[in-house]
């Protein structure tokens, strides 16, 4: 019996060690009064020093939201959310945005450092973290500009000056509302209307921070842009708002990463992301989502209810969504493309991993409006433990979308015998002049593959990771190099203890 107890203790340790981002940062914070009311909305707007039009816009959204009902069509189960039991705004109390990196509280800098996100530009440039690196290697190292969002505020944005030289605007959305109101007014909610859905409308009322990117005509953004979202404060929701505009002939690649501390309660993350691509523009948007998934029994974890949509407004425009979803107790998101411009292209590459008691209902919508529009969907779902993983997707070809083409491939991998994989593809086609292909497979991580790999010397965990990486390879190839390596590690950690 002693041995059994020790084993149980070992396993427990393993479980809590698995999520290495589960720490909390001790920093003084200021929060909005608990609950949602007109007062809360006014509080947030005042905190952000917003112009009147923005406050009015929020209030209108709040009124609409009161009339709406929470949707229940997704294949996920959770107790009813008490919207009055959430804090809608939390900021480190030393002030919202810091003028210089030196003003950022050291606890927060240390927090981001611990997460592997360096916020000092010279460190990013020289790669001081790895002392062995030579100057030549550092030069070759791709640089990434970071907007770091801590709870409800953006605490630092790196490389802003250098990007401004190229004409690229990269700042938090709160700053953009103040500094570039004309651009924000023109594009905000132009892709996801205020009344789009329950969670998007809620976001309009209480959104806190996120990133604003504007790439002018003909500019190829000189570096990767990224936002790192960190939820720290207890009992607080995060309402991210991101807006990316790529003008004619421009190109930008953007990455987002997300983590949160381990908490027993469920935290709500309701984000809205809008992308606009004009003629011949291209936006590549990658996500590595690793919110705290809750414990083995489904206690705690983030509810990730997100609306992401791209408008391929111009002809020959292109948007690629690539996502690796390993975290969150519940993921509910469908990064979509409206293919409005003729010859525009939408792509969706997804890996969704669920383990323990996690639930994911994710996929994409490809709305073909323009002629000769093309879309490609590659979805890889991996279910382990007692989790449920659903791919839900819509391919809609409108009457004028002659010559439209779609290719969809949905593969599901099951590990163990208590998890579920579901595929729900919706297809609508209103023109005879379109071509659609759909392929779907469901496989079990095969005993013969595992044995084969182990006979060659790989232990069970490594063998599983190798097989899973093989399964998702097509998607990981779409990620920028540094992220692909991180994603591989993440998959391995997420699936630890799921076999045998």
């Amino acid at each position: 019996m002693v041995a059994v107890k020790e084993t149980i203790a070992d396993v427990k340790r393993l479980e809590s060690d698995k999520y290495k981002y589960g720490f909390t940062t001790e920093v003084e914070q200021e929060r909005a009064p608990k609950g949602l009311s007109e007062e809360t909305v006014r509080y947030i707007s005042a905190k952000k020093d917003e112009p009147r039009w923005m406050l009015d816009w929020r209030l209108e959204a709040y009124k609409r939201w009161l009339e709406m009902r929470e949707p229940d069509w997704a294949k996920v189960n959770y107790p009813k959310i008490d919207y009055q039991d959430i804090y809608y705004y939390a900021e480190p109390s030393s002030g919202a945005k810091y003028e210089s990196i030196d003003d950022v509280p050291p606890e927060i800098l240390a927090d981001f450092e611990r997460l592997g996100i360096p916020l000092r530009e010279q460190e990013v440039l020289l790669g001081v973290a790895g002392a062995a690196e030579t100057a030549a290697e550092a030069r070759e190292k791709p640089r990434v500009a970071v907007d770091a969002v801590f709870d409800s505020v953006s605490v630092a944005t790196t490389f802003k000056a250098e990007l401004a030289k190229a004409g690229v605007i990269f700042m938090s959305i709160s700053e953009a509302i103040r500094e570039h109101p004309e651009l924000v007014k023109k594009y905000l909610a132009s892709v996801v209307p205020t009344s789009d859905n329950y969670f998007a409308t809620l976001n309009c009322a209480v959104f806190s921070d996120g990133t604003f990117v504007y790439v002018p005509k003909g500019v190829r953004c000189p570096m990767e842009l990224s936002t790192y979202f960190r939820m720290n404060a207890e009992g607080t929701g995060q309402f991210e708002r991101t807006l990316i505009i790529a003008e004619e002939g421009s190109y930008v690649s953007y990455l987002e990463g997300c983590t949160a501390p381990m908490r027993d309660e469920n935290q709500l993350h309701a984000a809205v992301v809008e992308l606009v691509a004009m003629d011949d523009a291209e936006i590549k948007y990658s996500t590595v989502q690793n919110w705290w998934p809750g414990d083995e029994n489904g206690k705690g974890g983030v509810y990730n209810f997100v609306t992401k949509r791209a408008d391929c407004r111009g002809k020959n425009s292109k948007v690629s969504w690539t996502q690796v979803e390993t975290g969150s107790a519940i993921t509910w998101k469908y990064p979509s493309c409206i293919l409005r411009g003729d010859n525009s292209v939408g792509e969706f590459y997804s890996v969704a991993v669920t383990n323990g008691a996690q639930q994911a209902d994710t996929g994409t919508k490809m709305i073909h409006l323009g002629k000769n529009t093309r879309s490609r969907i590659i979805s890889k779902g991996i279910s382990a433990g007692r989790s449920d993983n659903t791919y839900r997707g819509l391919v809609s070809i409108h009457a004028k979308a002659e010559g439209a083409r779609n290719f969809t491939q949905c593969d599901s991998l099951l590990i163990g015998d208590q998890c579920g994989a579901h595929t729900v593809p919706y297809i609508e086609c209103k023109t005879p002049k379109a071509q659609l292909e759909h392929e779907a497979t469901t496989t079990k991580l095969a005993e013969d593959q595992l044995f084969y790999a182990r006979q060659r010397g790989l232990d069970e965990e490594t063998a599983t990771a190798l097989l899973v990486n093989g399964f998702v390879r097509e998607v990981l190839q779409e990620l920028p190099m540094e992220f692909a390596v991180e994603a591989q590690q993440l998959l391995k950690v997420s699936l630890e203890g799921s076999v045998g």
Binding site: D448, R454, R456, G470, R473
Partner: protein, 249 residues
């Protein structure tokens, strides 16, 4: 080197397949096991390498004087036991080179050795692939996916050549091979013969033994070794069939 005594094993927990098997293969020798279908040849290969569901219920498997019966497959692999599969398994999305490098370095780590550097690994693989007529293009493709039977068997032998096991079990390596492929694979196996290495060649037919000549031939029937002899025993079986031994068992 390999000492099997009174080995009993069942599949899936209840069905006895091996019923008191004795076998001894000294270092540097090649032994062949021949037997009709259903005599337990493949089961033996899985019991020796530790596949789940193939448990030894009695007896011992001594490898270099150590009982390996309770060890995990990867532990046995690191100790140098290698099985060339009758039906090599497809591993989608994992390039052959990546797979072999991961396997080699996992074994090295388990033995407390340094990992092999990428350039050294590439050099080793290229040299050995050449002997087996395996192209660079094949090595980049996912392991065994869409490969012909002959290609798969050649890749099994390449893996053995790269991993340098101390004991090889070849399970029906000749199945699915045409004459030319049989020649290439046999040459690959013969190149691995060494005074330091033992081999167990499991086969249904004599034809593989024309290329890989064994030191000792055993006949297996109903989960036991029922006869042993020199290479001439294989010829006799080819001419007269297994009837005599099946009846004897």
């Amino acid at each position: 080197m390999l000492e099997i005594k009174n080995l009993h094993a069942s599949v899936g927990g209840d069905k006895p397949i091996l019923k008191g098997l004795d076998l001894s293969v000294p270092k540097g020798e090649v032994h062949a096991i021949m037997g009709p279908n259903g005599s337990g040849k493949s089961t033996l290969s899985y019991v020796l390498t530790g596949r789940d569901g193939y448990e030894a219920t009695d007896g011992t498997i001594l490898y270099d004087g150590e009982d390996v019966a309770g060890m995990a497959p990867e532990e046995r692999a690191a100790k140098g036991l290698f099985l060339s599969f009758q039906y090599p398994v497809e591993i989608p999305g994992v390039p052959t080179l990546t797979f072999m490098k991961e396997a080699l370095n996992a074994q090295r780590r388990a033995r407390g050795e340094d990992e092999m550097s990428a350039p050294d690994f590439m050099k080793t693989v290229r040299e050995k692939a050449k002997l087996l007529n395996i192209s660079g293009d094949m090595l980049k493709r996912p392991l065994n996916v869409g490969f012909s039977g002959g290609e798969k068997k050649r890749l099994e032998i390449l893996q053995a050549a790269v991993l340098e096991p101390r004991f090889l079990i070849l399970d029906e390596t000749d199945s699915g091979l045409d004459i030319d492929a049989l020649k290439v694979v046999s040459d690959g196996v013969n190149a691995l013969r060494s005074p330091e290495r033992g081999m167990l060649v499991i086969t249904h037919y004599q034809r593989l033994l024309d290329h890989i000549s064994p030191d000792v031939v055993h006949v297996m029937s109903d989960g036991k070794i029922v006869a042993s002899g020199g290479p001439e025993l294989a010829k006799e079986l080819e001419a007269e069939g297994y009837d005599k031994y099946v009846r004897a068992a």
